[in-house]
């Protein structure tokens, strides 16, 4: 008690009052100072969304001009690449370093949202980024990209004709295609006795309780919700219909409660190591699985399914040159190397993701041993892009709805 009374206690009370007064003074001075810090706001005008039915020729950036022709990369300079993990051949990068004297610094991300968040956060200085076309419009309208100088991209002649003038970037002003892939179902026959023909809709397999605790879905909100929409019989994977989205939400929550799925993008290593037997898969990861199988495990236990009529999720990733980078010349040289047949072959061998180059005909990929026979269904045909269902950029309100569904699913509530 004695310690709480008397002058010492009074002193502490006085000190307390003084502290409060000081705090008030600080706030009175500090708040106007802080409010003087300008809040960054952007006026982008109307949001434009490219679709196959509504192709877009993007205007050239005013902020980042096209580089001049005939320049050479500076030896000793650094090329900063921002990409998914295991999505670029180390040998290809080393060869490029040896040829040009440029040092490559590779940083990785887990999903496109994370990448966009970091790119938009400021000057991280990345030169090259590998987006899908569902975020291309945002990147261009936010003036984060540098238009390409086609003079440096001499290997673009190797591309499939369907990529000469793509709907998402008419005139290929900002992009080159990187890889093409489908999204389907993968499984190990020794860990999951899957017979897709027994289901009215093959995607019902993800709700079959015999695979509870033995499955995974992709940690990518649009890809995963797209699969649920297809399971519900909705082939518009970019729907803004609230009824369809509510049905997708219910199905997704049901999936979590009954199946306890792992949500990851590491299925290409998890499944070969035997963590689970069934998963939603990107075709490139399916092709890559044999590489990660334990030595004595036969490759023929692996399977991949994509709708035989070609009506399924089909996409391609791109390479873009970011305006925030300081080495656009080396970036152009590297983009051209990606389109080189030898380099593309090396890259395909490492990543499993198919380049849309004329020299890589689907039938040859199996014959040449790039893809094992039992995973031939993972090879993407040029015709798949006519029947396939692309994941497009969404209007802001709809994207929020998708995100909210995904958030509820992932929070485990």
């Amino acid at each position: 008690m004695g310690a709480r009374t008397g002058p010492a206690h009074d002193r502490s009370r006085q000190l307390h009052r003084r502290t409060v007064l000081r705090g008030g003074l600080l706030a009175a001075v500090g708040v106007p100072l802080l409010s003087a810090c300008q809040t960054r706001t952007h006026d982008y005008g109307e949001l434009r969304i490219p679709t196959p039915e509504n192709p877009i020729r993007w205007p050239l950036s005013k902020k980042y001009p096209i580089i001049e022709s005939g320049l050479k990369p500076q030896p000793g300079s650094v090329l900063r690449i921002y990409n998914y993990a295991d999505y670029l051949s180390p040998k290809m990068m080393k060869d490029f370093e040896a040829q040009t004297g440029v040092d490559i610094h590779l940083s990785t991300f887990n999903d496109a949202d994370e990448a966009l968040t970091k790119i938009a956060s400021g000057n991280l200085g990345f030169d090259l980024y590998f987006p899908s076309y569902d975020s291309l419009g945002k990147l261009i309208q936010a003036e984060l990209l540098r238009p390409l100088n086609q003079d440096y991209l001499t290997n673009a002649k190797n591309l499939w004709h369907s990529f000469d003038n793509p709907w998402y970037d008419l005139g290929s002003r900002y992009t080159i295609p990187y890889t093409i892939y489908s999204t389907g179902i993968g499984w190990r026959t020794d860990l999951a006795d899957v017979n897709l023909s027994q289901y009215e809709n093959p995607f019902d397999v993800f709700w079959d309780t015999q695979y509870t605790d033995n499955m995974a879905i992709l940690d990518d909100w649009h890809t995963a919700i797209g699969m649920v929409l297809m399971r519900n019989g909705v082939n518009d994977l970019n729907t803004t219909n609230s009824k369809y989205l509510e049905e997708a939400r219910v199905a997704l929550l049901d999936l979590r409660k009954t199946m306890n799925p792992k949500v990851t993008i590491q299925m290409y290593t998890d499944m070969p190591s035997g963590q689970y037997g069934l998963a939603q898969f990107w075709s490139g990861d399916a092709i890559n699985m044999p590489y990660y199988l334990p030595k004595k495990t036969p490759v023929d236990i692996l399977r991949y399914w994509f709708p035989p009529d070609g009506v399924g999720e089909i996409d391609n990733d791109l390479v873009v040159c970011l305006g925030q980078g300081s080495n656009p010349v080396a970036a152009h040289y590297f983009m051209n190397q990606i389109l080189d047949v030898t380099s593309a072959g090396q890259n395909f061998g490492f990543t499993g993701y198919q380049p849309p180059l004329k020299q890589f005909t689907p039938s040859d990929l199996v014959k040449q041993g790039y893809v094992p026979e039992n995973l031939a269904t993972a090879v993407v045909q040029e015709s798949d892009f006519k029947t396939g269902l692309p994941l497009l950029q969404l209007p802001v309100t709809a994207e929020n709805e998708y995100h909210q569904i995904w958030q509820e699913f992932k929070s485990g509530g």
Binding site: H403, S411, G412
Partner: protein, 330 residues
């Protein structure tokens, strides 16, 4: 009758000075109040105040400016609003509504976090206390070696230690093989397929070294004489522990619990690596998911604020505990 003070009763000047000095010693001399002294103490506090402002108050204000700020219309990135008068509470209210409202889908993750952290902390304590006790009191000449062994986990990053467990816990991994006892049993338990047990054990494994060290420090400082006195006065081993050792180390226990529970509250990595299932999501995962989702960064800030407020409670307990510890010592 008035008392007569004799010559011998009156203290001589030297004795008076000594007794006054001893009284002053006993009564803690008042610190000097000169202007120079005040500036000296203020100056010594300055680095700490600057540190606090730069690394706590300023970041906290940034978090608030983001939680109550705006969102870029296309990129969906947070746009901090620095002026509190312009703050928008919709993101914060959204999070609160999903915790306390009619559709509380964030609530299970909150409850799960408390359950996981409490279980893991308790298990950590049960493991760490005997280990620290043995090292501090009974290890003898092995004390140095044991201490080195206790510090060894700090040399390996948390991520690497967790990744090691991913390999061990795979369905055909070493743990299941060991449990199979050479084929005697058929064990194919999917440890990594979203089980609370795996997550809690992962947390225990990850954080137990952080608990052992403060406990060791507390036990090592406990005066042996007091323990011996308790035994000499007839207390049994259990009574000695319960009535002397435990009270003496209670502050160390609180510190060690704080050192482990606070980082556990924000942990998301353990769930990501050892489970990957939404069924095991903790508040750290909600923060991580929101930070990485365009348009939801403000919600991440709201979760951070919740963790901060919840963290204050154990901190308050700690402060009370250390204060009562001082009282005992005095």
């Amino acid at each position: 009758m008035a008392e007569v003070e004799t010559e011998t009763d009156r203290p001589v000047p030297d004795e008076l000075e000594e007794s006054q000095a001893s009284r002053r010693r006993g009564a803690e001399p008042e610190p000097q109040k000169g202007v120079g002294s005040r500036w000296l103490w203020g100056g010594l506090a300055l680095p700490g105040i600057v540190w606090l402002c730069l690394l706590f108050i300023a970041p906290l204000y940034v978090v608030l400016a983001i939680i109550f700020g705006g969102i870029d219309p296309i990129l969906r990135q947070p746009v901090p609003v620095w002026n509190p008068l312009d703050w928008d509470f919709s993101q914060f209210n959204f999070v609160m509504g999903r915790i306390f409202g009619p559709d509380p889908y964030f609530r299970p993750a909150m409850i799960r976090t408390v359950a996981y952290v409490a279980s893991a902390s308790l298990i950590c304590l049960v493991i760490a206390y005997p280990v620290a006790y043995f090292t501090a009191r009974l290890a003898g000449r092995w004390k140095g070696l044991l201490l080195a062994a206790l510090i060894a986990p700090f040399w390996i990053s948390y991520m690497m230690r967790m990744l090691a467990w991913v390999n061990l816990l795979q369905t055909d991994g070493l743990v299941n093989k060991t449990l199979s006892a050479g084929g005697l049993f058929n064990v194919h338990y999917a440890w990594l397929q979203g089980h609370s047990t795996t997550v809690i054990l992962g947390l225990v494994y990850g954080y137990v070294p952080y608990m052992i060290l403060p406990l060791y420090a507390g036990l090592d400082r406990a005066p042996t004489a007091m323990l011996e006195a308790a035994r000499d006065l007839g207390a049994s081993r259990f009574q000695t522990f319960y009535r002397v050792t435990w009270p003496l180390t209670r502050t160390a226990v609180v510190v060690s619990l704080l050192v482990t529970t606070l980082p556990m509250l924000g942990d998301y990595f353990t769930v990501d690596l050892l489970s990957g299932s939404p069924s095991n999501s903790m508040i750290g995962n909600l923060i991580n998911n929101s930070v990485l989702t365009p348009g939801e960064t403000g919600q991440a800030g709201a979760f951070v604020l919740i963790v901060l407020v919840v963290s204050v409670i154990p901190m308050f307990i700690y402060l009370r505990s250390t204060r009562s510890g001082t009282d005992i010592a005095v």
